[in-house]
């Protein structure tokens, strides 16, 4: 239902973002490959490479399954209980793990689940002799679920909340039993987004680095990402790094293709846009079940965060916040996060426009279909290109033009944007598609297009997912250390970098305090991200 100009414009935007990303990644790889390291080793893959490939896949598959399976009841419960006490805060907290530097999250988890953690002390008091050990596969899974369950729950919740209010009216007037509601309304909605969510979580877990090393207990638990990092940072062997990266991208692409077989077409219904009211789940057992699901998930999420807070408040927070080093880092972090977030949202919109234009064609040709597919593939697979590869490649590229420190913040912002892209797409794409389907005909018949359509039709509805997406992307960028570590120079210090640098000079206390502050900033961001929620409801 697009005019020819709109379609052409959509394809143009899609093409622009596609070439932009392809160039950014491609130039880095070409620069690395054309570098004559002189010490290139012949053995690209060893037996050990296959071992870590197996382990990478194993832990990523298990982490994904656990995260999604546990997230589903939580999301269902939260969707069913719009007035659960503190619900908005629970949802806000769910965006928090993403914004934390991974090591901080890991230390928080260890504070609860570690050998000396609260959980084991409790078990000891209860008379259990053998404490639970979180080192090894179980620890990696626990940590991955901690980081990804909230993400999955939030995305699932968003999908459930997008369901037309009429569904609930109808289901209640039909007198549907809880199981029927699940089967005919909730599950189809969840099913539409689960493959995407699973794919995203799989990629995050497959490329996990610090968590796997810290909690893995030994080199038997290693991911390909570690090998890539080693081959660039320690051995400086670009061909091997690229080969390993390709292996990582290839094998994940296979998994993603397998997951995409489960994709079902979106069939969101027409709605008058009335406020959603749920009529189901009024029985006592249903109440109990939902409360239990929400409380357990919240406890699982909050306890490690509480242990971060408990450690953080012991630091001299006032001194930290007022120190010039902090203020500088906070400003740098904020500027980078904001640019990365805005870029990610704009790029996603461009990609969505491109895909929308192809979907709108009556008979898309092979090229158009391939274009749409590569847009989809590109926007998710880009997460798999290790930041260390991008960073090193661009360093080589830009070096002849002067001090790389001058370009560093822009590069870090772009790399962060690429990392955030798959998340932003997960938030925005379903929202925009549903919105388009619901309003396209109406806007066309009203003759609304261009700016007035964006202003009157799109923005009021899409403001919420746009804000959520922006806050997601900014939180991700705030917590990221990887990209900065490559350029890391005195001129480019971000908050996570500051946390690490305090840790590396014995200042554990300061690091704890900074981690707390970083968490609070992320919480503030997610408040912005969920702020739209109330306004829309009121309107």
């Amino acid at each position: 239902m697009l005019t020819r100009t709109e379609r052409r414009r959509g394809i143009g935007w899609g093409l622009l973002s596609l070439t932009g990303i392809a160039l950014f990644v491609g130039v880095a790889i070409v620069a690395l490959l054309s570098w004559d390291a002189g010490n290139a080793q012949s053995r690209l893959f060893t037996l050990y490479t296959w071992q870590i490939l197996r382990f990478t896949l194993l832990q990523a598959v298990l982490s994904t399954l656990l995260s999604v399976v546990f997230a589903l009841p939580v999301a269902l419960a939260l969707a069913r209980r719009p007035s659960f006490p503190g619900r908005l805060w629970i949802i806000r907290l769910m965006a928090l793990p993403m914004g934390l530097p991974v090591l901080i999250g890991a230390l928080g988890l260890i504070g609860i689940w570690g050998r000396q953690g609260a959980m084991n002390s409790l078990l000891l008091k209860l008379g259990l002799e053998q404490p639970v050990s979180i080192y090894g596969l179980s620890g990696i899974l626990l940590a991955h679920v901690f980081f990804n369950l909230p993400l999955a729950a939030r995305l699932l919740l968003a999908a459930l909340e997008r369901l037309p209010a009429e569904y609930w009216l109808l289901s209640s007037s039909l007198g549907m039993k809880p199981f029927s509601v699940f089967r005919f309304i909730e599950w189809p909605a969840a099913r539409r987004v689960i493959p995407g969510i699973a794919g995203l979580i799989f990629m995050l877990c497959a490329t996990s680095f610090t968590l796997v090393l810290v909690l893995g207990g030994g080199p038997a638990a290693t991911t390909l990402e570690v090998a890539i990092y080693q081959s660039l940072r320690f051995d400086f062997d670009p061909p091997r790094a690229i080969a390993l990266s390709l292996l990582q991208i290839g094998m994940t692409a296979l998994i993603l293709i397998a997951i995409s077989l489960f994709l079902v077409p979106d069939d969101s219904g027409i709605t008058a846009g009335r406020a959603t009211r749920r009529f189901d789940g009024r029985t006592v057992p249903a109440h109990l079940w939902d409360t239990l699901a929400i409380l357990l998930a919240t406890a699982f999420l909050v306890l490690p965060l509480a242990s971060i807070v408990a450690a953080g408040v012991q630091a001299n927070l006032w001194n930290l916040v007022t120190s010039p080093a902090f203020l500088r880092a906070a400003w740098t972090s904020f500027a980078i996060a904001l640019s990365a977030g805005l870029l990610a949202v704009l790029t996603s919109l461009a990609i969505i426009a491109g895909r929308g234009a192809v979907a709108d064609m009556k008979r898309p040709g092979g090229t158009a279909r391939a274009f749409s597919l590569s847009l989809a593939g590109m926007s998710s697979l880009v997460l798999l290109v290790p930041p260390v590869v991008l960073g090193t490649g661009w360093f080589l590229m830009l070096r002849p033009f002067g001090d790389v420190a001058r370009f560093a913040s822009a590069l870090v912002a772009i790399i962060n944007m690429l990392m955030a892209l798959p998340f932003v797409m997960r938030v925005l794409a379903p929202a925009v598609e549903t919105h388009r389907k619901r309003t396209a005909r109406l806007s066309a018949s009203l003759g609304l297009s261009g700016f007035s359509r964006v202003w009157r039709i799109d923005l009021p509805v899409l403001a919420k997912p746009l804000l959520t997406a922006l806050s997601f992307a900014m939180a991700l960028s705030l917590g990221d250390l990887g990209a900065v570590a490559l350029f890391g120079s005195s001129e480019l210090t971000t908050l996570p970098w500051l946390v690490y640098s305090r840790l590396s000079s014995y200042r554990t206390n300061d690091a704890d305090g900074l981690a707390l502050i970083l968490g609070v900033i992320c919480l503030g961001l997610t408040m912005i991200g969920t702020a739209g929620q109330r306004e829309i409801k009121r309107g």
Binding site: V27, V30, A31, S34, W35, A37, Q41, T46, Y48, Q51, L103, L107, I110, G111, G114, R115, Q116, G117, F209, T210, L213, V214, L215, G216, G217, G218, P219, A220, V226, Q230, L232, R233, F234, D235, F236, A325, F395, L396, M397, R399, P400, F401, G402, D403, A405, A485, G488, S489, S490, W497, Y500, S501, R502, L503, S504, S505, Y506, R507, T508, A511
Partner: protein, 336 residues
Amino acid sequence: MRRTVLSILAAAAALSLSAPAEAQEKTLTVYTYESFISDWGPGPKVKEAFEKTCACKLNFVGVADGVALLTRLKLEGPGTDADIALGLDTNLISEAKATGLFEPHGLDASAAKVPGNYSDDTFIPYDYGHFAVVYDTQAIKNPPKSLKELVEGDPAQKIAIEDPRTSTPGLGLLLWVKSVYGDKAPEAWAKLRKRVLTVTPGWSEAYGLFTKGEVPMVFSYTTSPAYHMVEEKIDRYQAASFSEGHYIQIEVAGMLKGTGDKDLAKQFLKFMVSPAFQDIIPTTNWMMPVAKTSAPLPDAFNKLVQPAKTFLMGSDEVARNRQAWIDQWLTAMSMN
């Protein structure tokens, strides 16, 4: 290929970038690792002290660690802005020399004395530290007295170590075990493995686990307790003295071939082994000074473990065997 791409980009860049303004004052650019130049590190004080003597500007560029420093120099090649690279350790020297970027200093560096009498025509040491197992006295009453006791001790008492693939202390432990056990090193690792709680990517993660009380032992330096004694006034954390001797980490600096002002670079290297610089090191970098300091070290340093014997492998030997030894380590540590 590379040249074509570069020239295209060069053309583009020439349009968009203006040449950096020429500095009027002499400047000396020192590449180092980040913690050296942090607010509480030696950097700010060194800058102040050196600038008093040289009528120049001292400019630090910090990267993550010593390994990143070498990688950075390799990436930048002969066109690097660095005049001095400060913060490589002896294990990296062979590789650093192989880049052909460094120039022999031609100075009398005999003022710098380190255990094991290390000296080199290109690199001058500025501090050193012995690796050691640091333990929590509240959790461990009988610390291991030798590497052998560490390897064969109670597996319930855990240690956090660093990964030799991603960290210099990790590599240090690998070399230490190799120096003591020789060909039997894989067997030793297979035993030690049972005591290893986890292998972290870097020193910070392992030490964080240790100070959080998660693990009672950590692989660190003999000087680590000095930090806690001086800054935090606690003597809870102590290093275990090992009867076989301790492996040493020596941090060095060298002059780049491309430096614009060789005299200034040499002046800095000389300054580096003078008391003005050495005074700063112990309580900011928490390593041992290599030359005379103007005042005796804080009392805490006298309480540190004084290794009876120092292990140090030649950097050529390390460079030649590092990959093979890491592979052995991987195999031994991955066995079930």
